[in-house]
């Protein structure tokens, strides 16, 4: 099986890497939207995640990859098996990163009647879809701006509730589907509806780096990887391991971290200064700042954390005319300086 390019060896693109790592610390931040041109390491970063993230315990034989310690949040199958007196065993698996290709049918995504069993055995059974596979991991949609709106809607719904409810062809199934949606796309090839934009936790704009040295470094590493994937990956294993430990520590620390009232107030002010509707912006700000503080092993969430995360958390929520060319990042930056003071 081909090995993936290691996460730690990606040159630059700090904002994107940070956003992805923070969702590993706290998946409830919500999805990440990555906008940028081709060849900017978007797919590489996402596909590096299974090797980077801490492995997870999975109930053996569970079709939805349930967490053995999740108690009530496990799927009905697991609960039924336990109720029947079975002692559930578990294995260690890499965090799933599932690709959702454009043109995937709704059946394929949410799951559908298992044709094979229906027709050969006359049984009415459910065949899980991509959402089941992505449970507890990442669902990656390249060119999400070209995905049909009703599918994007569906994905964001499931991602928000953490549950996939299937009612079709006489099947009635619900199963846990907690995943982080990562969407990427090139805005020049189509826009995402504003209603959908708002529902991503963080957004990132990636550009090809114009710094020549950085570009040379990208090519050098890529060339080294192409020539000897295993050797190159081994060389970066320590760096990946360090990031993994940082994530594990941050996850533990998250629970103790308190967000002071002053930060809550500042977040609210920031949102009203840029004019975002609803509470999604504030939630993303707070969760993002808290995950960042935990990742940095800070004692408390500070204004600096808020400032760092502000652009990613807010830039895609601004109300603007579709024809307005003024960059959203600039407007958020201005508001940050106004409300939080200069860095």
């Amino acid at each position: 099986m081909p090995v993936a390019f290691p996460f730690s060896a990606i040159v630059g693109q700090e904002e994107m890497k940070r956003a992805i790592l923070l969702t590993a610390v706290d998946p409830t931040i919500g999805g990440v939207l990555i906008l940028g041109h081709r060849g900017t390491a978007k797919s590489t970063a996402v596909r590096a995640l299974p090797a980077l993230l801490p492995a997870m315990h999975v109930v053996r034989g569970c079709r939805y990859g349930c967490d053995p310690d999740a108690g009530n949040r496990r799927c009905d199958d697991c609960k039924a098996r336990e109720a029947a007196g079975e002692k559930l065993k578990h294995d260690k698996h890499a965090v799933p990163v599932v690709d959702l290709p454009l043109g995937a049918t709704e059946d394929r995504v949410v799951g559908a009647l298992d044709l094979e069993r229906a027709l050969t055995r006359g049984e009415k059974a459910y065949e899980p879809g991509l959402l089941a596979r992505a449970n507890r991991g990442y669902l990656y949609v390249d060119e999400i701006n070209l995905l049909e709106d009703h599918l994007v809607d569906l994905l964001l719904d499931v991602a928000a509730t953490g549950e996939n409810v299937v009612e079709r062809e006489g099947i009635s199934v619900r199963h846990p589907a907690r995943f982080v949606l990562v969407g990427s796309g090139n805005p020049e090839e189509g826009d995402l509806r504003p209603q959908l934009l708002d529902r991503f936790g963080l957004s990132v704009e990636v550009t090809t780096t114009t710094d020549l040295d950085a570009r040379v470094e990208v090519i050098k590493r890529r060339d080294a990887f192409d020539r000897d994937p295993e050797g190159f990956t081994a060389k970066w294993a320590d760096a990946d391991m360090e990031a993994r430990k940082k994530i594990e520590r941050a996850r533990k620390k998250m629970e103790q971290l308190k967000v002071p009232d002053s930060i809550l107030r500042a977040a609210a002010q920031l949102c009203s200064a840029v004019g975002t509707d609803g509470v999604r912006g504030e939630l993303a700000l707070l969760r993002g700042a808290r995950a960042l503080a935990a990742f940095d092993a800070a004692k408390a969430v500070t204004i600096d954390h808020l400032r760092t995360i502000a652009i990613s958390a807010l830039r895609h929520r601004l109300r603007r005319s579709v024809l307005d060319d003024v960059g959203s990042s600039v407007r958020v930056e201005r508001a940050v300086t106004e409300v939080l003071g200069a860095a």
Partner: protein, 596 residues
Amino acid sequence: MEGNASTPELATLDLPTRIELSAALLALDPWGLGGAVIRAPRHDLAEAFVARVAALLPVGTPMRRLPLSIPDDRLLGGLDLAMTLALGRPVAERGLLATLDGGVLVVPAAERVGAGLAARLTQMMDTGTVPSRAPGARDLATARVCLLAVDEADVDEEPVHPALADRLTFRVDLDASPLIELFRADDIAAALRMLPEVSVSDVNLATLVSTADMFGVESLRAVRAAVRVARGCAALDGRRVVEAQDLATAAALVLGPRATRLPAPPAEPENSAEEPPPPPPSDEQQDNSDDAEDTDVRELEERIIEAMQATLPMGLSIEPPKRAPKSGSATGRSGADRSGGVRGRQVGTRRGDPRGGGRLDLVETLRAAAPWQPIRRAAAAHRAEAGTSPAAPRVLIQVRPDDFRVRKLFEPAGTTAIFVVDASGSSAVNRMAEAKGAVELLLAESYARRDEVGLIAFRGAQAEILLQPTRAIAAAKRALAALPGGGGTPLASAIDRAVELTMRARREGNDTVVVFLTDARANVARDGSGGREAAMRDALQSAKVLRAMEGTTLLIDTSPRASQLAQDVAAAMGARYVALPRTDARSIHAAVIGAR
């Protein structure tokens, strides 16, 4: 140049040599290079190139063609429905990509590959695996397949999907001249043994990166591909170290066709007065070329640039650098294949394979299977007795693939709005600002309705498609803002372009609305010559073609007072005529909305 006798003089990179080199390199490193986009004036020429690659590949390398309508189960692997039903137990079949691992897939009519198929192929190219749908297969199957994409598009049709094209290393533009043969399969085999040992110095890597930068090649994927090509060239030449000629060849084959601008002239201030200012990133090049006092490096760069001359895109060597090269390729190819009809309201059932995206109608399927049950049971019993097949399992009802009924769904088609804006002298004076304002309002509305928007402008000798139908409104706005005014009124040519876009939109299953903003004072004929009479005759002729397409058409007369001329043209093209003697953007907008 040293090297063994069989290798060509790589410095003379004429077209036949480049084509042969591309074939050799593909045969040497098929998976690493991803593949090629092949364009040819005739189909048999493309086939000849494919055959040439096949001849150079190691014996036994699998090669197949991709049927564009391939269902996921066949492409990625899944359930063999016919066998499953016949045997009464699940039978998995491997997908085309997995069976081709290490081989080559020929993609005919690659410009027709929609976003869905392209996404599946790019996923394979990025990860070297495919997600199988075969029963019980949670795992991925290894699939490292080289794609030879034959682009059969007409010049003005949409090119191969950009996500796919970006990952295919070569652009092979064939002409009618015969292929030459510089390599033998043995050479490739020898180079293959050499390839893992070939090294590239850091200076040489940096040179390729800066060359890409100079020519405005943004995607680092292209540079990475160029590095692999350079290594392949060295291996073909029997060397373990990449040298200058390899870099030149790699740049010519990979970077040249992707260039979006020419390098800024090396700091000669007197030149800058007549040349337009170079785009922003060139600052760094200036610094860079200052730093690079080292004459070796400079010589190397000159050599590379010289080699690239032949492969630069047409027009690039004459035109000043373009700001937004991407907007041209920002086509409105719809996100998911709309023809699938996998959503919407059910209007009936049809025979079909439920795995192709259709939703199975179970009741209708069983109803279709019902009349055949006695015959099928008897046949199965007979076969079991004769011992030609294992005893059939106790199946309640025997279903064959032919019985499948899927739901026929009705999906409202999307709309493509095509704006045809008269930017000629007569119109421009008063109306350009209003026209632009109106189109902007319509764009905003189209955005809300998720329509696609295309833009045609006409002035001077010919009409020009400024924007292929797209949903990227920002691109539309930019194209509009940059629209200059003045010159003749080539109305016939404008109508022809509108017909062209209408036909294309229809092919994708969209409805069309064509909106003309013009005073219809045609004075340039279709062939570009002047003269009102000929111009008008051509315009009325073209108008009839548009009328035959039976779409919604609207002509907004922008002349100072309602003109008979414009009314005649509107009548000929079957358009609603709206006279707007004195008006603003909002009333034009209102008129268009009213026409729908």
